[in-house]
């Protein structure tokens, strides 16, 4: 199993992290080594084994419909790097990929 520099760049794009070409090459080497160490996972007999996503799930606990919000020491806008008139302000350019606001997950 290996990962190429191009695949590193593609993963970086997907993960919203900037990686330049030289770094992508280095990372490809490092990550290929990681992947090789994971190879034994492909070798054991998993026939008929149901994948276990989590530990001891006994069913979802449900909460009463009461308005009891978690108290915050300061309001949301105080945490934001940039706020305006009580709103949290962020850069936004609809002509770019930002245009996807409200797209929601695919049905």
């Amino acid at each position: 199993m290996r990962i190429t520099a191009d695949e590193v760049l593609s993963a970086a794009q997907s993960a919203a992290i900037h990686v330049d070409a030289p770094r992508a090459a280095t990372l490809a080497t490092e990550l290929t080594r990681c992947l090789e160490a994971l190879a034994p996972l492909l070798a054991f007999d998993a026939a008929g084994v149901e994948p276990a996503v989590a530990v001891g799930a006994v069913g979802m606990p449900l909460r009463a419909d009461e308005s009891e919000p978690i108290a915050m020491r300061e309001p949301a806008v105080a945490l934001a790097p940039h706020a305006r008139d009580g709103f949290i302000a962020v850069p936004y350019d609809p002509s770019s990929a930002d245009g996807e606001v409200g797209a929601g997950p695919q049905a």
Binding site: A57, L62, Y92, P105
Partner: protein
């Protein structure tokens, strides 16, 4: 084009295929995964907490009442409710989703396999739209874009508000059918009492899935997913525009790809939203165990399901023996149907009660510009008035006069008749 050239327009050679994805906000006191109040109209960001802001370390806990309302919606649509459903993390890279992923019951939804009858196709066969899935999810933050500044203002009051996503099969064949579906759906939702259903007040939102194919084809061709349609008119316009787009492309032999369009109802055009080739599915959410609904609880939800419009109409037709047209008007909203029954049960003569409710009552409401919920004439009082009419105490004309006073003042018929100045000229006196 001259009179002798009759070229068929592309639309005529193709069949329009439409499916809808409808988002219905649910009427709960608190949000889906946290105890913040669902008051989106409060000052910005006051109903926000670590969970709906997706601060580090916060965890979601599901709201039972939201589950109840979602199940009620699913049962109202004759869906099969799945005893086990699972939340998955689906990548969502936009400022309105603070977690960076959405929690969606994607492959194991809450319910599936339902239907909604929206009318009749000729010749007399019922027109049904199948419901593919019902999913319980949440709304995102509101984003207000300030065009000048390349800035958007985020308000997390709405983030985390519970909503149900209904996805239909592509069973509709015209914009009119899509609009009819929405109308019937909204009526059903009103009867189920799960939501504020006004589409135009930021309530129900629709994405339309539109494609075109040759008549007789059974396979589906690639479709456009048109986003964020906020009125029935927008739905109709977007469907029409997109259908033309597809038919022109098909007719010219061009390739049609799956795409997502953002609809601008002001300019009447859809703009392609570029697809991103990225990892979208992160797998089942490790914080939320599967939602398990026990069978006794589900049985109780079945039993407690409110009477639906079709059931109410049927009952009015058979129990009260009313005409179909009258029944349509009386059952337009659950409030109106309840009002009518309040009168009919006490008065005893359903056709008279129906005539008065569809006539005098609706006229009075229009005149007073009042919603039925705030109408001053209580059903019991109208019944009393109709009894007086039946017993010959009042003539038809006098009854109407008294009714008008009742509508204006909220007085009962007895009170009005006691006062000499209020009694109509030809009312017989005692003795």
């Amino acid at each position: 084009m001259s009179a002798t050239e009759v070229e068929p327009r592309p639309e005529e050679e193709f069949e329009l295929v439409v499916g809808l994805e409808i988002r219905v906000p649910l009427r709960t006191r608190s949000k889906l995964f946290c105890g913040c109040a669902t008051r989106a109209a409060d000052p910005p960001n006051v109903n926000a907490c670590p969970i709906c802001l997706a601060l580090p370390g916060a965890l979601p806990v599901l709201n039972l009442h939201a589950v109840e309302l979602a199940v009620r919606t699913a049962l109202g649509l004759d869906c099969v409710v799945h005893p086990v459903s699972v939340y998955e993390r689906i990548r969502c890279d936009a400022p309105d989703e603070p977690k960076g992923y959405s929690l969606v019951q994607r492959s194991r939804p809450l319910a599936s396999g339902g239907r909604l009858q929206i009318g009749r196709r000729e010749p007399g066969t019922p027109l049904e739209v199948r419901i593919a899935a019902v999913r319980l999810g949440e709304e995102g933050a509101t984003v207000r874009h300030l065009r000048r500044d390349h800035t958007a203002l985020l308000d997390f009051n709405r983030a985390g508000h519970p909503s149900v996503q209904l996805v239909t099969e592509p069973d509709m064949r015209s914009g009119a059918e899509a609009v009819a579906f929405l109308h019937v759906l909204r009526q059903l939702l009103a009867y189920l009492n799960v939501s504020e259903t006004a589409m135009d007040r930021g309530g129900i939102r629709v994405n339309a899935h539109v494609s075109a194919r040759g008549f007789g084809e059974t396979a589906l061709r690639p479709k456009s997913r048109v986003l964020e349609l906020r009125s029935a008119g927008a739905v109709a316009r977007a469907i029409s525009w997109t259908f033309s787009r597809h038919t022109s492309l098909h007719a010219s032999g061009a390739r049609v790809e799956h795409e997502t369009l953002r609809w601008d109802d002001v300019r009447g055009v859809g703009t392609v939203v570029p697809a991103r080739d990225e990892v979208r599915a992160f797998g089942p959410d490790p914080d939320l165990p599967p939602l398990v609904l026990d069978s006794d609880w589900l049985d109780r939800m079945h039993r407690d399901l409110p009477e639906r419009p079709a059931e109410r109409r049927h009952r009015f037709l058979t129990e009260y023996r009313l005409a179909e047209r009258e029944v349509e008007v009386l059952t337009a909203s659950p409030g109106r149907a309840d009002y009518f029954e309040g009168v009919a049960r006490r008065h005893g003569d359903a056709p008279t009660a129906a005539r008065w409710v569809t006539g005098e009552v609706l006229t009075a409401l229009r005149r007073e510009r009042t919603p039925l919920g705030r109408f001053r004439v209580r059903p019991a009082d109208l019944a009393t008035l109709l009894n007086l009419l039946r017993d010959g105490v009042l003539s038809d004309e006098s009854a109407r006069e008294v009714f008008r006073i009742m509508a204006r003042t909220g007085q009962r018929p007895e009170q009005i008749l006691e006062r000499p100045s209020a009694s109509p000229p030809d009312a017989p006196r005692d003795g």
